[in-house]
Amino acid sequence: MTGTVGGLDRFIEFARALLDKESLILDRSERLAYSCDGLTSHRALPAVVAIPKSRDELVLVVKALARYGVPFVARGAGTGLSGGALPDAEGVLVVTARLDSIIEIDPLSRLAVVEPGVVNLDLSKAVAEHGLYFAPDPSSQIACTIGGNVAENSGGAHCFKYGFTSNHILGLEVVTPTGELVWLGGETLEAPGPDLRGVVVGAEGTAGIVTRIACRLMAVPEARKTLISYFDSVDAAGDAVSTIVSSGLVPAAVEMMDNLALKACELATKAGLDTTAAAALLVELDGPSVEVEVGFARLCTVLEEKGAREIWVAQSEEERALMWLARKAAFAAAGRVAPAYIVQDGVIPRTALPEVLTEIEALAKSSGLAILNVFHAGDGNLHPLVTYDPAIVGATERANEVAAVILSLCLRVGGSITGEHGVGVDKVCHMPEMFSTSDLEAFSRLRRAFDPEGICNRDKLLPTPKLCGERAGSLSGAPVVSR
């Protein structure tokens, strides 16, 4: 039995003895502050909030939760956009924010061992003096924690060349929902046997709470060159991306913004973007300086051949930062052009870009809702921002419908329902659209290996009849096996 009142009471009694006043929040008004993460449409009041000060406290807390069968949810900074850190109303929210020590930096091994509450950007700042950085760079990197990045396998603008969080985690320590403390992976890229660290990364906090992380560090590239090029049509910009990629260049980032996104970002940042263009590409090359020079010349040739009407090349680090500020402001900037919006996160094979963007445009027209498109074009990760006015009757429902249709569209062209924000509670009922019943059964088996009692981040990631109704997985859903 999980979630029994008795279990929770016994946990509180235990926690009172273990944790100091600041670390155990029972007061209702204080708990309210933790009732949602970045997905504010979903809220729940946690029965208890525990904010351990040390790894030992955290481990003891989870062991007690396991012992008393009390459901729990981990929370880092709460910036997640799929409701992964949405509390369990019958359980305990375990906040890792205070576990924010960088335990060790080993520059020669290009490794840092950190606690889960370390903020993503703080790690890069701490290792900068050694000419190193932590490559995963979600737009939320000034706030989100590395524990959260691990759980969500977070990406960022530079995934096309450098991969996701998973590619930068060498090993991790996790306290499982059974209360066991295990180290998975190693301290190098190589570790024997099935890669269980790779399972915990991206498990969306359902495999336990990560207590220590060995992060791979990268050398700061000798040179970086960034440009924004403008196009008269979205198609032309999409075509330019294909040509860049097939020319053999591997840019560090290829980002695309459509006209509405350009306008919103310009309003928010005054970066000097051309708001008359139909679309813009932000492209960045990095690496050894000669390599970057040669590649950049080729890049400019491709862009000109593909009809770029203007190319703005960053002349200084400040100008480069400004370009990125404008791009990374996109989510918040949508708030400048509409009272509310849904951030969608879907992935498509890059070659399907023209087809999908045309359909999204048609959706915008038919629904009467403006949709801003801003995305990681190199890896086909779309972030359509579906805007609406909640004051208009039915608009919220329509926006949700449109966002859902976009996901189905991604699946129809062979893509995925999420490229970086995760499934959480937000997309749990879309899982059967992407995965067959037997895929989902395999996922459940894996989950049970970590959490046999089902107490960790319940009702997320995997659909249940209670959550989504009796909706069987589509047996033709497996996009991998091609015959």
Binding site: D106, P107, L108, S109, R110, N153, G155, C159, G163, N167, V182, L184, G186, T188, L189, E190, P192, G193, P194, D195, L196, G198, V199, A219, E222, S242, G248, V250, G287, P288, V290, E291, V347, I348, P349, R350, T351, D379, G380, G414, G415, I417, G419, G422, V423, M434, F435, S436, S438, D439, E441, A442, F443, L446, A449, F450, P479, V480, V481, S482
Partner: protein, 367 residues
């Protein structure tokens, strides 16, 4: 090697799933690739040959290729080469795609691009009771669902039969070259420190026979400029490109490949602990290393089980990882069995058991 009782060679994944669902034999099930780097088979085992899973579905513009588990990996690379692409994995020896994943086989390129775990973006598999499952997909960015592909990487066929693998592809290297410098094992860490200090960006940093190799790829101008930086610092030494590069790098790779009665052991730890790794490998017949990755490969001839256990214990005591990478013909079955027992022990064993409740792929091999 013990004689195998039966070989099953399904034509389709669905046929394999049906076979497994109805399987009532008592022996183990062993998915096999090209049998170039297998684990031991015993009487009563049923091997599953995946050679008929031989399809290739390359989507050049999307930078992905799906391949049946039975496709020969080097043949796949050759196919991609004609399309001016590649999978940035350079295993020292060939084998089937499924086996490449199951043995997590990669080479020096892992320093820059990561290993098998980093380049497989999707996979389909059949679990021991016939459950067909897939995770990941055909897009290079994707976080939907658990990443089951990771459980397959390095699983040695103990978890599931790999049916199809989707890899991310990269453009073919435009120009490759490497510089060789005399470096004794004791100075390997120092060499690495100096190399990193030069702000060059090698794709691999290898070591064999008291020589360190810094390998570069990119445009000719970019590679040559980095080589000049190295020469200015370390003094003039040998530079290899074109056929000479290909020949030498094959020779360096060859060192890791076990011959008759030989076992290749991989020792891993931080680059700052390279000296300890070399020390552990001191009894080996041949030693090579991926310096930047903190990996030392040691080839032992006629290694006994107790010697292997001794190596495992000393690695464990020092907090280093050890893995048996490959075995030549004629290695005692017990040596292989000891390796498997380590792989399926503890927490990992429980995860394997949850995916394959009847332990058809790892029967009798609990650690």
């Amino acid at each position: 090697m013990t004689e195998v009782r039966s070989v099953y060679s399904p034509e389709t994944p669905a046929e394999l799933a049906e076979f497994l669902a109805g399987f009532e034999g008592s022996g183990r099930l062993k998915p096999i690739g090209a049998l170039r780097n297998p684990f031991p088979l015993a009487a009563g085992d049923t091997t599953i040959s995946l050679e008929r899973f031989d399809w290739i579905d390359h989507r050049r513009e999307d930078l992905t290729v799906a391949a049946g588990a039975g496709v020969d990996f080097f043949a796949l690379q050759e196919y991609l080469r004609r399309e001016k692409q590649r999978i940035v994995l350079d295993p020292p020896a060939g084998g089937s795609v499924g086996a490449m994943v199951a043995t997590s086989a990669h080479g020096y390129l892992a320093h820059r691009y990561g290993g098998v775990r980093d380049l497989v973006i999707g996979a389909s598999m059949v679990l021991g009771d016939g459950l067909m499952a897939h995770s990941g997909g055909r897009v290079i960015k994707n976080v939907a669902g658990y990443d089951l592909t990771k459980v397959l990487v390095g699983s040695r066929g103990l978890v599931a039969a790999v049916v199809e693998v989707v890899f991310r592809t990269h453009p073919a290297a435009e120009f490759e070259a490497m510089a060789a410098f005399p470096v004794v094992a004791e100075r390997a860490s120092d060499f690495l420190g100096q190399l990193y200090g030069l702000k060059v960006d090698p794709v691999g940093i290898e070591w064999a026979a008291d020589t360190a190799y810094a390998i570069f790829e990119g445009t000719r101008e970019g590679v040559e400029s980095q080589l000049r930086t190295l020469i200015e610092h370390f003094g003039k030494d040998a530079i290899y490109s074109g056929d000479a590069f290909g020949k030498l790098i094959s020779e360096v790779r060859e060192i890791q490949v076990p011959g008759e009665r030989e076992v290749t052991i991989r020792l891993c730890g931080r680059a700052t602990r390279l000296a300890e790794l070399f020390d552990l490998a001191s009894g080996a017949d041949r030693v090579s290393a991926h310096l930047g990755m903190g990996v030392v490969d040691a080839v032992f001839r006629d290694l006994t089980v107790s010697e292997l256990e001794g190596l495992f214990d000393s690695a464990e005591r020092r907090g280093l990882n050890l893995e048996v990478r490959a075995m030549g013909n004629g290695v005692a079955d017990e040596v292989q069995a000891a390796t498997v027992a380590r792989l399926v022990s503890g927490f990992t064993g429980r995860v394997i058991a949850s995916l394959d409740p009847k332990r058809r792929f790892s029967r009798g091999e609990q650690g």
